[in-house]
Symmetry: C2
Subunit: 219 residues, 2 copies
């Protein structure tokens, strides 16, 4: 028998088994996120998820306790991806303006992906109060990072003076909404959608900014 560098045992090493189990767990979660996004959380059963994976329901139970745990994990992973978006942005010029655009691009990309889309399309509403509290604190962290970037941009003079709270929600709202209307085969790539949405948010819909001085006025 040739020495291939492994132990020669027909059983996998514990570490490999752990990695494999984790990969399979993620596959269960990703398949569930996709089903939730397409059919809605309440219209999706564990049987639907098992069927999509070509396994039986008991196999699913080997990786997760129940449907609530699946949704919690899907939303948690999606929110952590969004929260980390601001940590690993690159390719900008170091200004708050450049960094904000880089973070927005990343955010828009994530909400077109399985877990990110699940954050927006399903969200934490069906979960217990305790789970919702955990997820809401992740949301606050994402919001805080947007606000700080906008505050820094105002201080640097590249972002127009505004209420950072409203600005952060306007940006997050416009970009999150992509998850609602984006269709993978809809003719527009996530990259193009992100680029055009961000262009509108940074430069405005109006051709001559400030031309209508009455925007802030009421009837």
């Amino acid at each position: 028998m040739q020495d291939s560098g492994d132990s020669g045992s027909p059983w996998k090493a514990a570490a490999d088994r752990q990695t494999e189990r984790e990969a399979k767990r993620i596959a269960v979660l990703r398949t569930a996120a996709r089903a939730f996004n397409e059919m809605g959380y309440h219209n999706t059963s564990l049987d639907d998820i098992a069927r999509r994976l070509n396994v039986t329901k008991p196999t699913i139970y080997y990786y997760v306790r129940n449907k609530e745990e699946i949704l919690f994990e899907c939303v948690r992973i999606g929110l952590e991806m969004l929260d980390e978006a601001s940590n690993d942005v690159a390719g900008h010029d170091g200004s708050a303006y450049g960094e904000l655009i880089a973070v927005m691009r990343k955010y828009a990309e994530i909400v077109t992906m399985d877990f990110g889309m699940c954050v927006i399309r399903v969200g934490e509403e069906p979960l217990t109060e305790e789970s919702r509290r955990t997820l809401r604190s992740l949301k606050r962290s994402i919001d805080r990072k947007f606000r700080r970037l906008i505050e820094r941009g105002i201080a640097e003079g590249c972002i127009a003076p505004c209420d950072p709270k409203i600005a952060a929600f306007t940006v997050a709202g416009a970009l999150s909404w992509i998850a609602r209307w984006y269709r993978p085969n809809g003719g527009l790539s996530p990259h193009d959608i992100a680029a055009q949405s961000i262009d509108l948010l940074m430069n405005g819909l109006g051709k001559t900014p400030g031309q209508n001085q009455n925007i802030r006025g009421g009837p």
Copy 2:
């Protein structure tokens, strides 16, 4: 007995009874919308709604068939309010730019109200496919009106050339999101939120529009 102009009967006329019934039905729907918005659709029972109205569940059944019908009606009324927003805007200068701002203001105001908020916070997901189809066609009508206004604005030269589909979704997303984060006692009035969000959407977050020519580029 004095002739007060009414029939003198202790029973109300059929037309008055109909009006009263309709007013009570709307009260049931509005109370339900408020409960759904606060606690979530699946966490709200008909008993919760009855309790908020100081009546019993059988009284509720006199006005609606079930919880699904309540949600359908709440979302339908909210969507019709949003759809009609573009019909009764006033006080603008007749340009597509002025009309777009007036419609956006109305839209932002409606999503802070019970039925409009229910459209965004709960939506049609828990309903049957047939109900969802009806509500989705109302959504398409709202989207179409935004797109046409933006197209008209581009033709009139007051809106920057853009993809009207992406622009309409960016605007609707940013304004719809208000329903998610707005709190009635949060210190910001719906009027102020609308004014500032619309200002950002029309004039952009950037201080010097177009300063970052690399927005559309990717890494």
